[in-house]
């Protein structure tokens, strides 16, 4: 596959991009390779009127606010928008690379049809008319044949206006299969569902917290909403305000997050649950927990008796009998004195919050460990309190009725009933496709996702997609999954299109950002929303009636009408306005700057969006929807769910009837198989957070800055382990798991544990951008392993051997 590369276009932008990065104070350690490539080239400065235009960063779900400088038809510089309530003018290094996306030479430039085969694709550029009519005709035929449910849509795990549009489309069309990629928050979201009974996204009031225990969450490397977390981090050390929040990072590796924490506690991999329960042990035995909160708002702390008179073990009994301090010290490898001290600090500081377990922006931890960590929040009374764990406020959008489309009771192909465990079971899709059970899959539509590359069972996805009769992908760059499609529908990049974003991950407040295109689309690309609406119109009937919008802009304008009707909240504004609005709203007054929906729309376009700056804490009825209407240490929700699954206990590794099945506990760690002595733990680094961004040279340049590893992936190995294996820093080595083998350069890193090696995510593409193809993809080496509760991929349990190549 090859595309023409317009190098000149790329270079024109690059001058602006580098300037933006430099003036934003980001360390660009040696852009030598890129600069050398640019030095001999002519840089053409574009002409025309200059403007600063508001926009949004599209490179991660935080969707930070941008101000983009345009000269004539070109975007030449990106800055953060100080009005944006999440980022407040900040941008991460990835955001600064945004212009490299727009002017990337390997972008898709026109709709493509695969005129070869799935195994050996050959791409032909086609017209948009042909592309749209192909998809629309296929969907019409399937619907006409009663096979609407056999259409699958795979999207990002976001709850925004776009996802509502697609869901509405599918509901009217007749498919239950709106499937999403996993998120790093899935484990904690599962814990929140099991212990609080809610499916609303979990969020943290990080700025307000005074003590933070992070169980392996890469807080400063792309987790949640990176700029918001970094801002909170700054506030923790705000000497002027007389504040000092202590931040303790508990994880096996000395990550960048650990390096910036007040204290790093190195624990044995996979023992986060034991560590959390060891801390709970101290809180309980020393009476350092919030006894009133536990008494009034929790269930299952003490042993309890069910309706049949059977006594069940409570959290206290479990912790006191199985997680004694010295036992936990042995399990975790953390000295008992350290656990004791941390527990006392956690118990004596309010508000204190615990996050985890081990998570990145895309890799979730284990639900039992997440329950153990979340139980610490209940012990410290930090649920729905300032500085604690909260539930993300919802946008006040009208839920519109969608008429049922024929027989719409087909099960979802990921076997996840709507509003059941919030874990994402996309990994189950290939099995359904290959087995044709419960029904065959006739079409897959992908939007900006790449499961073949991003999931541990990517290879199974590849095989199963060979069997799907029709695949279309909306994307800006060719990727491993799109290369299996029949049609590739090129999307404009963020700055070239209407964008919108709702509250980003882990952010407490209701937010809706909107931005019009900054510049005209550079290639023959079209907004996926416009295509979807055009297809809806083509299908007509119920589908057309459900989506009666001319284009995405009209849809967004319609939704802004909902926001206006809610008669609350405010348009993005200065920090001062924000503080003022919060004071006023908290006391029950509303001071809008607009009086009509049109005014709101105009102001949102100008300022970047609308949000509710006030969070109402302590609304317990909203916070705990469990059977007991309390936080449940002992999850009755899980017990009820498991009661119809006889094999559940065995999958967990416990006997049926064991109360620990429904209590937080330490899941078994994975034993190393013979011949594979080292544990492989993939890592995410901020420039390639979410495993994305490897296609951008600026990010390649700065990704491995802690080891000066640039432009390729690296294997972090402890110097002592390396010495035993005869490996020197920089040697090319083979990393071999039972599943596969990869070659990579070894970097000696004392921050790794001797028994663990690490590979960064985001490298090793086989399709798309030339720069993304560097390095290896750790996903290709990982065992397929899922937790028995929510079916979340467990990516930290694969063992490997490492040897010099």
């Amino acid at each position: 596959m090859s595309f023409e590369i317009n190098r000149r276009d790329y270079l024109r932008f690059a001058a602006g991009g580098a300037l933006g990065a430099a003036t934003s104070g980001v360390s660009l350690r040696g852009l030598s390779r890129l600069n050398a490539a640019l030095a001999s080239e002519e840089v053409i400065v574009p002409g025309g009127p200059e403007n600063w235009v508001p926009s949004l960063c599209s490179l991660c779900p935080a969707a930070c606010g941008l101000r983009v400088r345009t000269i004539g038809p070109r975007a030449v510089r990106i800055q953060g928008s100080s009005f944006h309530p999440v980022s407040h003018g900040g941008l991460c290094p990835k955001g600064l690379a945004g212009l490299q996306v727009v002017y990337h030479p390997d972008r898709l430039r026109a709709p493509l049809r695969n005129v070869g085969s799935r195994k050996s694709p050959r791409w032909r550029e086609i017209s948009w008319e042909e592309a749209i009519s192909t998809v629309a005709a296929r969907l019409r035929r399937l619907r006409g044949a009663g096979q609407a449910h056999q259409v699958v849509w795979i999207d990002r795990p976001e709850r925004n206006l776009w996802s509502r549009l697609v869901r509405r489309f599918l509901a009217a069309y007749g498919s239950p299969n709106y499937l999403t990629m996993p998120s790093g928050l899935d484990a904690i979201q599962t814990a929140v569902y099991l212990q609080q009974g809610v499916t609303q996204p979990v969020a943290y009031d990080l700025e307000g917290t005074r003590y933070l225990l992070s169980f392996g969450v890469n807080l400063l490397e792309g987790w949640g909403s990176p700029t918001a977390v970094m801002r909170a981090f700054g506030r923790w050390r705000d000497a002027a305000a007389g504040r000092r929040t202590k931040f303790v990072q508990i994880e096996p590796r000395f990550s960048m997050t650990a390096a910036r924490a007040d204290e790093w506690v190195a624990l044995r991999p996979g023992t986060d649950a034991a560590m959390a329960l060891g801390i709970a042990y101290v809180l309980i035995t020393e009476g350092l927990y919030d006894a009133a909160f536990v008494r009034d708002h929790t269930f299952g702390f003490e042993d309890w008796r069910d309706a049949a008179g059977r006594t069940h073990m409570g959290f206290r009994s479990l912790v006191l009998s199985e997680y004694r301090l010295n036992d936990v010290a042995v399990m975790t490898g953390v000295p008992a004195e350290t656990i004791l001290r941390l527990a006392r600090e956690f118990g004596q500081n309010r508000p204190a919050v615990a996050v985890g377990d081990h998570q990145t922006s895309t890799l979730p931890g284990h639900p039992y460990a997440a329950m153990a960590v979340h139980s610490l929040n209940a012990l410290s009374g930090s649920l729905d309190t300032p500085g604690g764990v909260v539930l993300q406020a919802e946008l006040p959008l009208k839920e519109e009725e969608i008429p049922p489309a024929g027989k719409n009771s087909w099960p979802r192909l990921d076997e996840t009933p709507e509003h059941h465990f919030p874990g994402h079971h996309l990994a189950r899709l290939p099995r359904a496709i290959l087995s044709r059970k419960p029904y065959p899959v006739e079409a897959v539509l992908l939007h900006d996702v790449n499961p073949v590359f991003s999931l541990p069972n990517g290879e199974v996805f590849r095989q199963s997609f060979q069997e799907v009769p029709f695949i279309a992908s909306f994307t800006s760059f060719m990727d491993e999954t799109s290369s299996l499609a029949d049609l590739v529908l090129p999307a404009p990049t963020g700055l070239e299109r209407w964008q919108e974003a709702a509250s980003p991950p882990a952010f407490p407040y209701a937010v809706e950002s909107i931005s019009p295109p900054v510049i005209a689309a550079r290639h023959r690309t079209r907004h996926p929303g416009d295509i979807l609406l055009e297809i809806a119109k083509f299908l007509g009937g119920q589908v057309g009636a459900a989506l009666p919008f001319e284009n995405v802009e009209a849809y967004l304008r319609h939704r802004v009408g909902d926001l206006f009707a809610a008669q609350t909240c405010s348009v993005y504004s200065t920090r001062l306005d924000e503080a003022w609005n919060r004071l006023v709203e908290r006391s029950g007054w509303w001071a809008p700057t607009y009086s009509t929906a049109d005014e709101l729309w105009e102001q949102m376009k100008e300022r970047g969006g609308w949000w509710e700056p006030t969070y109402y804490y302590g609304e317990w009825e909203r916070t705990a929807r469990t059977p007991s209407r309390r936080f449940e240490f002992y999850s009755q929700t899980l017990a009820r769910w498991a009661s119809s699954r006889p094999d559940f206990a065995r999958a967990v590794g416990l006997e049926p009837g064991d109360d620990r099945l429904f209590l937080p506990h330490q899941p078994p760690t994975v034993e190393a198989p013979p011949g594979y002595p080292l544990l492989l733990m993939p890592i995410e680094v901020l420039p390639l957070a979410g495993g994305e961004g490897g296609h951008l040279p600026y990010l390649q340049q700065i990704a491995g800055q802690h080891l000066f590893a640039t432009w390729e992936s690296w294997l972090e190995i402890h110097p002592e382990t390396a010495r035993k294996l005869g490996i020197r820093d920089g040697d090319r080595v083979s990393v071999e798991s039972p599943r596969g083998r990869a070659q990579v350069r070894a970097r000696l890193y004392a921050g790794a544990r001797p028994e663990v090696v690490h590979l960064p995510l985001g490298y090793g593409h086989t399709e798309g951008s030339r720069w993304g193809r560097r390095g290896v993809n750790p996903m290709a080496l990982l065992d397929e392993r899922y937790d028995p509760v929510a079916g979340l991929a467990q990516t930290s349990g694969t063992h490997v051997k490492v040897y010099r190549s």
Binding site: P396, W589, A591, G618
Partner: protein, 419 residues
């Protein structure tokens, strides 16, 4: 919220009782942006842009380093939204500032902070901000609210989360109303059947004092599952409130500083609670007595829409910002007693203390506060050298003093020659 940004002008004042305001303090205030700020239009809202400018001043000048407002800001000094309690007029604010100034400067000196200087406009805005923010109700204390539900016996008639009576609506159905004024308004409009039912059950009329109402609301919110709806009150308009005061017949019983009926307390003279919600609560507390008096005079009970109640309350608050005119003669005596006359002699030079005769027609709390901050530290120093104690004023004394200065009756005869 409160429209201290109300436009007061002689021409516009239809209520004769307001006329005295136009002399003394208020005439001078009219010149300031605060008091001429528009309530509506141009993006300005009920708390005018100047109020926000005042908030900016509060942070820019470093006030927030030590003081907080409603919990936002420093912890070293009192939260200026909460302390002192009660509703403070501009004169009361300046009296408080004056009396605490030496202690503040001393703290700043210890922290090596220079006392900030203010322009009159900044001070005007700062006063607007402080006055406004003090009128805001705070999110309540749910735990206290839980106890109040029992104490006030709300559940004798109302249900709440499956408990209590059936005679009144489930209190959770109001949970989305975020403003205590809205709650009082809803209760007010339904008070007649409530009153009858309570009488039949031998229940006493519930009183809402201090933060009772917001605490109750906070508790009820903890029991309401639906978090989606937040019903706020829109900006209140004091001008409309003034009109409502007349239309709804309030003026036939209540006066504002002597203008109006005399059967009920003069609302311009009575001490008001600090917040708007608390004032609404006060109205509720006295409702049975009001209605009895109305019945005797065959005046119908007024009903209020949500916004009308807000406007009316805002009007009463706005009035209070302008302390009634002082007494020049009393002011003259204060000027002597407090030792002001010892330094501020007629024709005094800048190196001693300025001749305050120049303040004729210009003595309002704002210039006093501005002068206090800009010249006070030096004045304090000079007084210390001369072993003169820093004078302390009660709010009424400040008003009298201002009236005295405004009248320009300052004369050399009043001043003792400096030793």
């Amino acid at each position: 919220m409160i429209a201290i940004a109300k436009r007061i002008s002689i021409e516009k004042h239809g209520i004769p009782s307001l006329r005295p305001l136009l002399t003394g303090v208020c005439v001078l205030c009219l010149a300031t942006p605060l008091l001429t700020a528009q309530v509506q239009g141009g993006g300005a809202y009920f708390l005018s842009g100047n109020t926000k400018a005042g908030m900016q001043t509060f942070f820019d000048k470093g006030c927030a380093r030590c003081h907080a407002v409603l919990g936002e800001g420093g912890r070293a000094a009192p939260d200026l939204a909460r302390a002192p309690g009660g509703n403070l007029s501009a004169a009361e604010l300046v009296a408080g500032m004056w009396n605490h100034a030496p202690a503040m400067w001393e703290k700043m000196r210890l922290q090596r902070l220079a006392p900030p200087k203010f322009s009159e406009e900044e001070m005007t805005n700062l006063f607007a901000f402080l006055y406004s923010v003090r009128a805001l109700d705070e999110p309540g204390d749910a735990e206290r609210g839980r106890r109040l539900v029992a104490e006030k016996r709300c559940l004798e008639c109302h249900s709440l989360a499956g408990q209590g009576g059936r005679a009144g609506p489930d209190l959770r159905s109001w949970a989305s109303y975020r403003n205590p004024v809205s709650w009082i308004q809803a209760m007010w409009n339904h008070a007649q059947p409530m009153q009858a039912m309570m009488a039949a059950r031998g229940l006493s009329w519930p009183q809402f004092l201090g933060n009772d109402m917001t605490d109750l609301m906070a508790y009820i919110r903890t029991l309401a599952a639906n978090s989606k709806g937040h019903v706020y009150l829109r900006q209140a308009n004091a001008e409309t409130g003034r009109e409502l005061f007349r239309q709804k017949g309030c003026v036939s019983c209540h006066a504002i500083r002597g203008a109006g009926g005399s059967r009920a307390p003069d609302l311009g003279r009575r001490a008001l609670p600090r917040t708007l919600g608390q004032l609404a609560g006060l109205m509720w507390n006295h409702a049975p007595a009001m209605w009895a008096s109305m019945r005797a005079q065959q005046v119908p009970r007024p009903q209020f829409s949500n916004q009308e109640m807000a406007d009316l309350i805002a009007y009463l608050f706005a009035e209070r910002y302008f302390e009634m005119a002082g007494n020049a003669e009393r002011g003259r005596r204060r000027f002597e007693e407090k030792g002001c006359a010892g330094c501020h002699t007629a024709g005094a030079k800048a190196d001693t203390a300025p001749d305050l005769a120049g303040w004729r027609g210009g003595g309002s709390p704002i210039p006093v506060a501005t002068a206090l901050w800009n010249h006070g530290p030096l004045m304090l120093e000079k007084m210390r050298q001369q072993e003169i104690p820093w004078p302390r004023f009660r709010p009424g004394e400040i008003v009298d003093l201002l009236e005295f200065l405004n009248r320009g009756q300052f004369s050399p005869a009043l001043a003792k020659a400096k030793p």
